[in-house]
Amino acid sequence: MTTISETLSATPVRAGQPAGGEEPVIAVRGLRKRYADLEAVRGVDLEVRRGEIFAFLGPNGAGKTTVVEILEGFRERTEGDVTVLGADPARAGGAWRDRVGVVLQESSPEPGLTVRECLELYAGYYRAPRPIDETIALVGLSGKADTPGEALSGGQRRRLDVALALVGDPELIFLDEPTTGFDPSARRAAWDVVTGLRDLGKTVFLTTHYMDEAEHLADRIAVIVDGEIVATGTPASLGGRDRMPASIRFTPPAGAGALPASLRPLAETDANGALTLRSDAPLAHVQMLAEWACAGGFDLSDLDVRRPTLEEVYLSLTTADRKDRS
């Protein structure tokens, strides 16, 4: 999106914002939330650093929304320490809200107002709002500035929501499932907006159900299951992903003969005759395969070496944990 990069280059990071490395933007220790008959959050620790995009993942009912709403100051906690931008969100007031932007999971445009009017209304709430047209351009709605909010498509409404959260020029932005229900191109456009936020020096706390979204956007990820954090890490290392075996997959041609002896215990054959090797040493194993194929005078034309996807890691984290509990 050219509009974004143009806008960004024209808008330097707000002066006076300290660089990373000091006090975290969000610090959560021993957070618990009990409802009448259920403990939705059972001792959560989290830390989000300045300027990072932090993705918070978990199945429905895992306590995700409860944690996010406590961080946003919408819910009281039962126990634990929560600091967001140096204040307790449960007690923070207007000056704190001035520095936080919230994109709710579901919210309609302001009734009867155009995109620009919605932003004018919200800009009036903040002490030092961003310029309105620039904010509209940042989310790619310049062509729709005079369109009633209620006439926008689902994806455009979401972008209006993001613009409303940005117009106060916050340091920290909560994005609750920002692309649910988007088509692939709308999702790409939204990702550009979020990446643009990082370039502005904003800290982003993101929840999503899409692993490709977390992988594309997040600097770090935490996974919550049944009210507890089961894994934290970068997209590449979450849940030991970087140490997990790779999959080497290929279909041996007819008459290829037996695999080298050392590879045989790693192999599984599927219904189509393809072999999958679970490999801790993919390079060495591929070399053995290559020697084996060269010696036999054939090729492995569909050879595929693959790391476990974030989705696989996530599913193993969320389902394994559930099995332990039941």
Binding site: N60, A92, G93, R97, S107, G112, Y122, Y125
Partner: protein, 289 residues
């Protein structure tokens, strides 16, 4: 009444502590002055209401249609306890309806819709103080009620020759503002009992239609059986209508304030305030997850 409304705002504002500021040197609250922020909020709320075709019809056009119909039915017969012309009776009666439609009905529908669709919660996530959002919307309702009442007054004067005694203009103005404020508070109270946008319109009509009929808005009160009059006297609609009827009565000399009726309105406002403060919510109630 205005004082009561101001107190409402102060109490609501204080329900959220705002002492733990991350920047201790920063003044609390948003940049613009507080009062100008209410006007800012009211301006955009008003735009929203005026652009809503259905709301426009029910709040601003329908009372006028009723005026034309009722005066058409009763012609120049004298009606009501004061034996005034039908038009002189129905201009203040339907002004009461206009005040209620603009304050109570329209506010209940829009506040319920905004709560259920996340608009209120999103505003709550900004630095805007609670009393600005609530006060801006109430101010919008009062402005709409006052505007529709003025239209009725002018149409009554031009089309039907209904004279408003000059001496009672302040009484009419105060009654409209006080009535509007009361029905705003009651609107906030009733909105807490309505679970969805779809049921807001039928519920408000189910409350108000019977009250219009027994409170002297549609039918002069003395034509009703005594027990219905007694029932009507409990509710605020009859007192708003009575105060307006009195001020429009050509035989009245003096300022025309009906303090007893305004007192009943104030009592209802207090009840509404108590309910609203206890039950008002910024967001739809969702299952915890």
């Amino acid at each position: 009444m205005i004082l009561l409304l101001l107190r409402l705002f102060r109490i609501v504002a204080s329900t959220r502590p705002r002492n733990a500021s991350a920047r201790p040197d920063a003044p609390d609250g948003p940049g613009p002055g507080r009062v100008s922020l209410v006007l800012h909020q009211a301006r955009y709320d008003l735009l929203g209401v005026l652009r809503d075709r259905q709301g426009r019809f029910f709040t601003m056009v329908l009372p006028l249609i009723f005026l034309v119909i009722f005066v058409g039915i009763f012609g120049n017969n004298t009606v009501g306890p004061e034996h005034v012309k039908a038009s002189t009776y129905y201009v203040p009666g339907l002004t009461a309806m206009a005040v209620i439609a603009g304050s109570f009905v329209n506010l209940v529908i829009s506040v319920t819709a905004q709560r259920e669709s996340g608009v209120l919660k999103r505003r709550r996530a900004t630095p805007v103080p609670a009393w600005v959002v609530i006060g801006g919307r109430a101010l919008t309702a009062i402005a709409i009620s006052a505007a529709t009442s003025t239209v009725l007054l002018v149409v009554g004067r031009v089309a039907y020759g209904v004279q408003l005694p000059t001496s009672t203009i302040p009484a009419v103005a105060l009654t409209i503002i006080a009535g509007s404020a009361t029905f705003c508070v009651l609107g906030y109270a009733v909105s807490t009992a309505i679970g969805s946008e779809d049921s807001a319109q039928p519920v408000t009509q189910a409350i108000m239609l019977p009250l219009y009929f027994i409170s002297g808005v549609f039918i002069p009160n003395p034509s009703l059986p005594q027990w219905l009059q007694d029932v009507a006297r409990v509710f605020p609609v009859s007192h708003l209508a009575a105060a307006l009827h009195h001020a429009y009565d050509p035989s009245v000399h003096g300022a025309g304030f009906m303090w007893s009726d305004l007192g009943v309105l104030a009592a209802w406002a207090a009840i509404g305030l108590a309910v609203a403060l206890r039950r008002f919510a910024w967001a739809a109630t969702a299952a915890p997850a």
